[in-house]
Amino acid sequence: MDQIWQMLGENSSFLLNGVLTTVGLTILGFGGALVIGTIVAVFRVSPITPLRVVGTAYVEFFRNVPLLTLLILIVFGLPDIGLLFPLFWCGVLGLVLAGSAFICETVRSGINTISVGQSEAARALGMSFGTQLRLIILPQAFRTMVQPLVNNFIGILIGSSLASAVGVSDITNVTQQLNIRYAEAVVLFLLSGAVYLVFALGAGGVGSWLERLVSRSRIGSAR
């Protein structure tokens, strides 16, 4: 037992950096995926056929390719065409691409929950498609998407562990390295697992809080 404490003590800053890397991957990955996913969702509901085709192709590709495959292609494939990114950003890129495909579908189904009367009223007032989305549809759609977005967030958090396989020093990668040195697999992976668990539970808690906030507001369900 003392040995374990000693190992953790000696490597505390190494472990902490791993945790911070995981947090960075997840937050940047989710933030980027939210932006890209929303844009692709707008493509998919737009009245312009080529945009819808592009949006559908994007989702079907990135949703149906394993994240690990995607990460390996980014890390080893992009340099071949002259694009060399730091490993961390390769990880972020992979998470954004895969995450945005799932978030796109969350946003799209959120948009579909808004009654068609809302868009008819906006159109009848002379609003363009973009104005309609920005002012009327998306602000209402996001309110219905809190829990599905928490799922997407947790997916990206857990998916970020795959970045360890391409050499990003996230918490999984760090515990792997320590395991090679100390041969304490159970303790170390319990530790990294606990990190994911804590953050995922935290995200769920924030989600529930946001949802209560939304349902308690005066905006209510006036549809």
Partner: protein, 247 residues
């Protein structure tokens, strides 16, 4: 009727799949004219109303507003829609904006009016529909009648040349119908051009210049309210009116 109608509907047909909702409709609406569109459910009156601002696209025929044919979806259509106010059966207020914001939103973002000016006009419009004290309430906090009055104010804020009312009182409890009809009658008295799809025969008789009776996708009879209600010409109109009286 004035010589150049504001709205000209010519030989309009509208099919939903194999079902023909409109089967060759001709209708002129003169400037300042108030036209009631009556008929049984499914006769095509709402569809016709929705075709006039192209919320439904017509299958054949033509519709012009102020001499201009309805454009394809895009900027030109948005500009034209901005001049045609529409009031829906289901109100369709924006639930995440207050009553005041619902009214000033389109002037600010479509007509590009400065916010203070748009808000000031929105307050005037709220006063006009008798809801000055509800400016900061969200739609969920308003009764159905209040929501519909805000919806009318919202449409008026765009300074429309024409107002379309698609069964504006059909979703309201009976005690709220008159507050909405009062606002509409006032608007009619001020000279607004109006097309009103309605089951409120009292309103059609007293506030409208002409009644168009639709059946099975066609206007089968149109006349002044007095003529239409007292001496209907067609059997279908007689049948429709007799059912109204007996229930």
């Amino acid at each position: 009727m004035t010589p150049t109608p504001l709205v000209e509907v010519r030989a309009v047909r509208k099919a939903f799949g194999s079902f023909e909702a409109l089967r060759g409709v001709d209708l002129d609406i003169g400037r300042g004219e108030k036209v009631a569109l009556v008929g049984a459910s499914g006769s095509g009156k709402s569809t016709l109303c929705r075709c006039i601002n192209r919320l439904e696209t017509i299958t054949s025929g033509s519709i012009t507003i102020d001499g201009q044919p309805l454009p394809e979806e895009g900027k030109a259509l948005a500009d034209l829609r901005a001049q045609v106010g529409m009031v829906f059966q289901a109100f369709n207020l924006f639930p995440h904006f207050t009553a005041l914001e619902n009214i000033s939103l389109a002037p600010i973002h479509v007509r590009k009016v400065a916010k203070p000016d748009a808000d000031a006009e929105a307050r005037e419009l709220l006063a006009r529909v008798g809801l000055s004290d509800k400016a900061d309430n969200y739609p969920a906090e308003l009764s159905g009648g209040e929501q519909q009055r805000v919806a009318i104010a919202r449409a008026l804020a765009m300074h429309p040349q024409l107002m379309l009312f698609d069964e504006p009182t059909s979703a309201l409890d009976p005690e709220m119908i008159s507050e909405v009809l009062d606002v509409m009658s006032e608007l009619a008295n001020e000279g607004m051009t109006m097309l009103v799809v309605t089951h409120e025969m009292g309103f059609a008789r007293h506030a409208c210049d002409r009644v168009c009776f639709m059946d099975a996708g066609q206007i089968v009879e149109q006349n002044s309210p007095a003529e239409f209600f007292d001496t209907p010409k067609t059997d279908r109109a007689k049948d429709f009116l007799s059912k109204l009286l007996h229930h």
